[in-house]
């Protein structure tokens, strides 16, 4: 925690002008990285700068980014939710079950959202009601939710989704802009406003920076956290609808390992894993970066393991960079 207070981002530095702070901010660095990757990709592959190809590429990150927005809030508040991928699986299974009972698209959407909310509620109750650490609870529910899908589905799959259901994961709103991309944009704005422009957003930062102080200042910490986990469950439900629709089928292994990619996206976006700081624009940029790196490497047929190494190296360097930077500055000041 000591390191965190020493990092330059958290010191209210009013001596700098607004524009100079913007220039030195995490988001501008990410923007530079994003532009660089975009340029490198267009240079490396003749197929990159094609509207339809770029549109296809957005599917690599939209679903994960939807969850990442809510996850960013959870992590800023000093908690974590590792059960999101399993919530996707359970929501998808519930929707598949509803299909076998003859449900149509509107009902399926309600079932998906409802299951997500329910899972979020379970997490929230265990964490805020019983006061258990979120990492322990969500590791538990991670196995629990996916385990339930395995019990319901076994080695079978649900495939009979109605044709109209395909819109959420395969449909286009206008020209190359898919429904998922539009949803991503809308959610980015909604979460951006929620975190940066509302009292609720301020309390999330307050809890992450100092939970006890927040509590004594009259913030209803438990309630805020409960809402955050509920929100994450809901976003996982939405992501589940998109993914299920895109795959047109459900298997209990759906979205395996996605929780770590979501957390990676959030941390890459400049959200402190220790809580207390981070922005939604940062997460949006990180989502684009991860999507473009995956797609760009894919176009060059770089094996997936190299991509993982690249993302891993990127992640470690973005976490290490501010720490090293602040150390160097301290040394210079001495």
């Amino acid at each position: 925690m000591a390191e965190q207070h020493l990092s330059p981002r958290l010191i209210p530095d009013r001596l700098q002008s607004r524009s100079s702070r913007m220039l030195k901010s995490w988001e501008s660095l990410l923007l530079v990285v994003a532009i660089l990757i975009f340029a490198l990709n267009s240079f490396a592959s003749p197929y990159f700068l094609d509207p339809w190809n770029l549109s296809d590429a957005t599917f690599n990150f939209t679903e994960k980014a939807l969850i990442a927005f809510a996850m960013a809030l959870v992590i800023i508040s000093g908690e974590i939710d590792l059960s999101v991928a399993s919530i996707i699986a359970l929501s998808s299974t519930a929707m598949g079950l509803a299909v076998t009972m003859g449900a149509d698209t509107p009902v399926l959407v309600l079932v998906g959202l409802g299951t997500g909310l329910f899972c979020g509620m379970v997490n929230g109750l265990l964490i805020t009601g019983l006061g258990l650490p979120s990492i322990v609870v969500t590791i538990g529910t991670m196995s629990l939710f996916r385990g339930l899908s395995f019990i319901i589905l076994g080695d079978k799959a649900y495939t009979g989704y109605p044709e109209s259901f395909a819109f959420f994961g395969q449909g286009y709103v206008w020209w190359v802009f898919s429904f998922e991309l539009a949803l991503f944009a809308v959610c980015a704005v909604v979460f951006g406003v929620l975190l940066h422009k509302t009292n609720f957003g301020r309390t999330v930062y307050a809890i992450g920076n100092n939970q006890t102080a927040a509590l004594f200042s009259g913030v209803r910490v438990g309630r805020v956290k409960f809402i955050l986990f509920l929100l994450t469950g809901l976003m996982a439900g939405i992501a589940s609808i998109c993914l299920t629709s895109r795959l047109g089928s459900t298997r209990p292994s759906i979205a395996l390992g996605v929780e770590l990619e979501v957390v990676t996206m959030v941390v890459l976006g400049g959200v402190s894993i220790l809580g207390g700081s981070g922005t939604i624009p940062g997460v949006v940029l990180a989502a684009f970066i991860m999507g473009m790196v995956t797609f760009g490497f894919g176009l060059l047929n770089v094996p997936g393991i190299v991509m993982s190494i690249f993302i891993g190296a990127l992640l470690i360097s973005v976490i290490a960079l501010p720490i090293l930077w602040s150390r160097a500055r301290r040394r210079m000041a001495q």
Partner: protein, 329 residues
């Protein structure tokens, strides 16, 4: 003037020829596997490269996700669509989840086939099975009979009593049994694909049937356990263990003599055939029920009503080649 004309014509012809040769560019065939870094698929890639070399104008893109997920394969397929490859040959992580992505590929003019692990009918033009149930049923009894010119008692060690695959193979085996004179199938026992239960069931067989000459285990777990039980009972040379197994697990037992030979598909041939079929489809061949698609040195594959076809007999592994393949899978 005439000279000028001749020159003109020659130049035009030459240019046309050059343009033509530029048009005959290499065809890109993508071999998409369940995950990279698996010996079985690396071997399939070896076969695909062999096919590319033989065909000349083919570039094989060997690719796949890091983990065996459908989502990972879809990302790979999307990037292949973007690269405008000519064909995709996929061993699927999920029968159904890949269908929308592969449908999109086919809509954009890419030939799609599945091999090894199939895709649902809507998502591919044909599926290549490594073998077929009748071929497997025949092969497992043939492996036992080949070592028994005088005939004798054989027993079957299967997986579970409800295993669909094994039951079909054993049924097919019994159909062709009359072709092998003097071979008696005395018992079928079930080891449930558990090493210890398979081991005990084999011990039971050895005690109950003193004249037992061979044990057929059409399961990779059972065959290893049976070979171990035969070795431990000191019956090596008297009872031959055969069936379906993996070379890496069976190499030791072939060396010790507990197993003279066994069979399983050859991944090299599978990758080779998939590439050859993809090339045939790019060249204009149509995948429809009853059609025959060319597979180079592997002959041709005939498609059934589901547009599925079987490549060949299971490949036989014995002392001469098991060592080499045990490094692969």
């Amino acid at each position: 003037m005439k000279l000028f004309k001749t020159l003109m014509v020659t130049t035009a012809v030459a240019m046309a020829l050059m343009a033509n040769s530029a048009h005959a560019e290499t065809k890109k065939i993508a071999l998409v596997v369940k995950a990279l870094g698996i010996g079985f698929f690396e071997a399939a890639n070896k076969g695909a490269q062999e096919a590319a070399k033989e065909l000349g104008d083919v570039e094989v893109i060997y690719t796949g996700p890091t983990t065996t997920t459908a989502e990972g394969q879809i990302e790979v397929i999307n990037s292949l669509i973007a690269q405008k490859v000519d064909a995709i040959a996929v061993s699927a992580n999920d029968t159904d989840a890949l269908v929308p992505a592969l449908k999109k590929a086919m809509e954009r003019g890419i030939k799609v086939i599945s091999w090894d692990s199939g895709v649902a009918k809507d998502g591919r033009s044909m599926h290549l099975n490594p073998s077929s149930s009748p071929l497997i049923g025949n092969m497992i009894i043939k492996l036992a009979a080949d070592q028994l010119p005088e005939g004798g008692d054989v027993a079957v060690l299967s997986a579970t009593a409800t295993s669909t695959n094994q039951n079909v193979w054993i049924e097919e085996m019994k159909k062709v049994l009359p072709n092998y004179k003097g071979i008696n199938v005395v018992a079928t026992v079930y080891g449930d694909d558990l090493a210890d239960k398979s081991y005990r069931e084999t011990q039971g067989l050895i005690q109950s049937y003193p004249n037992l000459k061979a044990i057929i285990a059409p399961t990779s777990v059972g065959i290893v356990a049976a070979a171990q039980a035969v070795t431990d009972a000191g019956k090596t040379g008297q009872i031959n263990v055969t069936g379906l197994g993996l070379p890496s697990e069976m190499a030791g037992h072939v060396k010790s003599g507990a197993s003279k030979s066994f069979a399983i598909w050859n991944p090299i041939d599978l990758g080779y055939s998939a590439t050859m079929i993809a090339y045939d489809l790019i060249g204009g061949a149509e995948a429809k029920p009853g059609a025959e698609l060319k597979m180079g040195r592997m002959g041709a594959v005939k498609l059934d009503d589901n547009n599925e076809g079987a490549m060949a007999d299971p490949f036989v592994y014995d002392a001469s080649n098991v060592e080499e393949f045990s490094k692969i899978f």
